[in-house]
């Protein structure tokens, strides 16, 4: 019985795979591949203004509100994840609180020293904390298998957000705006391999560059300009600001040094930096849109402040 049903179907398949149909589907394949290559070639030369840009704007206009709406459906998902992570989180929190307690106890003993040093650092950095920050919510996140460390936020040109603006949150530096539309903006995270930030060791004021490693945990590499300067484990790194405050404003905390390895074959050393911001948990961020601060003007001197 089954065999009887099977036979005509097999016949149909045979007839479906006539040379004409095969030719047609190969034509479709070739056309689609050619279209993809055309797109890649058109979009690859970005300096000349890509013709794909209007398409991106249209897509952002359509999908921005949809992503924004879908993000509201996140609460149950978050709850589910948190329930699984609850025990681990409590354990980690307990350890962290113990460590914090010890640290606070020791801080209490050295508070005057720390306050003086903080005042000195403030003076040296000449940080003007008078940034106007536009708050925004993360509504889309790039996935690791596409090697993109980018997020979409729900603020755009309508809110005064422009490309090359600094994005930060309560913990520290998040990244910079690379592309904007009316209602959304794309942010390149500091953990992306395309990202390089000028970073300053807050203990010695030495200048260097923080570049992303493309890792999910947001680990960063730190290379000093001054080859003799040695970063120490536990040193904190802040931005030293770019010319005209774009793309980075000065004085935003980036992360702490977790290990230092001497460079193979050359002078200097590379430090591994753990960013203050956990890239997998960013939700509310701020875009610095406000009055520019003066960039710091202190000179590089590794001995100062030790």
């Amino acid at each position: 019985m089954l065999k009887d049903l099977g036979t005509p179907a097999r016949g149909l398949v045979r007839s479906a795979a006539l040379p004409r149909e095969i030719r047609r589907r190969r034509t479709v394949l070739v056309l689609v591949i050619l279209a993809s290559f055309t797109l890649i070639v058109l979009d690859a030369r970005r300096s000349a203004g890509s013709p794909v840009e209007p398409l991106r704007h249209a897509a952002a206009a359509v999908f921005g509100p949809l992503e924004s709406g879908a993000t509201s459906a996140r609460q149950p998902v978050d709850n589910l994840r948190d329930r699984f992570a609850e025990v681990d989180r409590l354990k980690a929190e307990n350890e962290k609180l113990k460590a914090d307690n010890e640290k606070l106890t020791s801080d209490l003993r050295t508070t005057d020293y720390a306050r003086n040093r903080a005042a000195e650092l403030d003076r040296l950095l000449k940080v003007a904390p008078a940034y106007t920050v536009t708050p925004a919510r993360v509504i889309g996140i790039g996935s690791a298998q596409s090697f993109n460390h980018t997020v979409t936020i729900d603020a755009g040109t309508a809110d005064g957000v422009r490309p090359d603006m600094t994005v930060l949150n309560g913990d520290g530096l998040v990244g910079r705006v690379v592309r904007t539309t009316e209602g959304t903006a794309t942010v390149l995270l500091i953990g992306d391999r395309n990202s390089t930030v000028g970073g300053r060791l807050s203990s010695t004021m030495a200048l260097g560059f923080v570049s992303g490693r493309g890792e999910v945990a947001g680990t960063l590499d730190y290379k000093l300009v001054d080859l003799r300067a040695r970063p120490k484990v536990g040193d904190r790194i802040v931005t030293w600001g770019s010319k005209g405050n774009a793309p980075y404003v000065p004085g935003v905390p980036i992360g702490t040094v977790t290990s230092v390895t001497p460079n193979q074959g050359t002078l200097g050393s590379t430090a591994t930096v753990k960013s203050f911001v956990d890239p997998s948990r960013i939700d509310l961020v701020g875009v610095v849109t406000g009055p520019p601060a003066r960039p710091p003007r202190s000179t590089v001197s590794p001995e100062k402040g030790r």
Partner: protein, 177 residues
């Protein structure tokens, strides 16, 4: 009928793009999310054949390329998913005397995940995108393929069932289980 079919396919792809960019990253495993768009493309290819797979893959990939937060050269996902869709469609053509079994579907999803990620990363390397990290490629592909099979268990039967509702009667016996 064809218009309805195309509209449904477009709707599936759009929903997949939105969910993949906004909701799924919150339940990512080690940062890797489920390639929902790829799964929908495979489902469409399995129910309609290679032409549909290639065109649906191109459309879905193009959306992934231009919808924020994408920041890579447009056309890379389009090419990768078009090729995966075409290959997935061939799987169904070769075995369409009977329906593709669950194991066949799972293998097709894994194959498509591997092919699409490989093409996507290779085009990135050709364009000198510093973000592509071949050292991490194997691990991320492994996690992605596993995750995709889990997602496919839910999505593929749903999409194939809906698509089978709108096929003409003369085709039904060929496509339906």
């Amino acid at each position: 009928m064809p218009a309805l079919r195309i509209g449904l396919a477009a709707l599936f792809l759009m929903i997949a793009v939105v969910v993949q960019t906004s909701v799924l990253p919150n339940i990512a495993v080690a940062g890797v999310t489920c390639d929902l768009v790829m799964i929908v493309v495979v489902a469409l290819a399995l129910s309609r054949g290679p032409e549909w797979g290639a065109i649906a893959g191109f459309a879905g990939g193009l959306m992934l390329d231009v919808v924020p937060p994408a920041d890579h050269t447009a056309g890379r996902w389009a090419l990768a998913l078009a090729l995966s869709g075409y290959v997935a469609g061939l799987v169904r053509r070769d075995r369409s005397a009977g329906p593709v079994g669950p194991l066949g579907v799972a293998l097709t999803v894994v194959l498509s995940a591997a092919l699409s990620l490989l093409v996507y990363s290779a085009t990135g390397s050709l364009l000198h995108d510093p973000a592509v990290d071949w050292g991490e490629f194997g691990v991320r592909l492994g996690i992605a393929a596993g995750y995709d099979v889990v997602g496919a268990i839910v999505v593929i039967p749903l999409v194939m069932w809906v698509m089978s509702r709108v096929v003409p009667a003369r085709e039904r016996q060929r496509v339906l289980p």
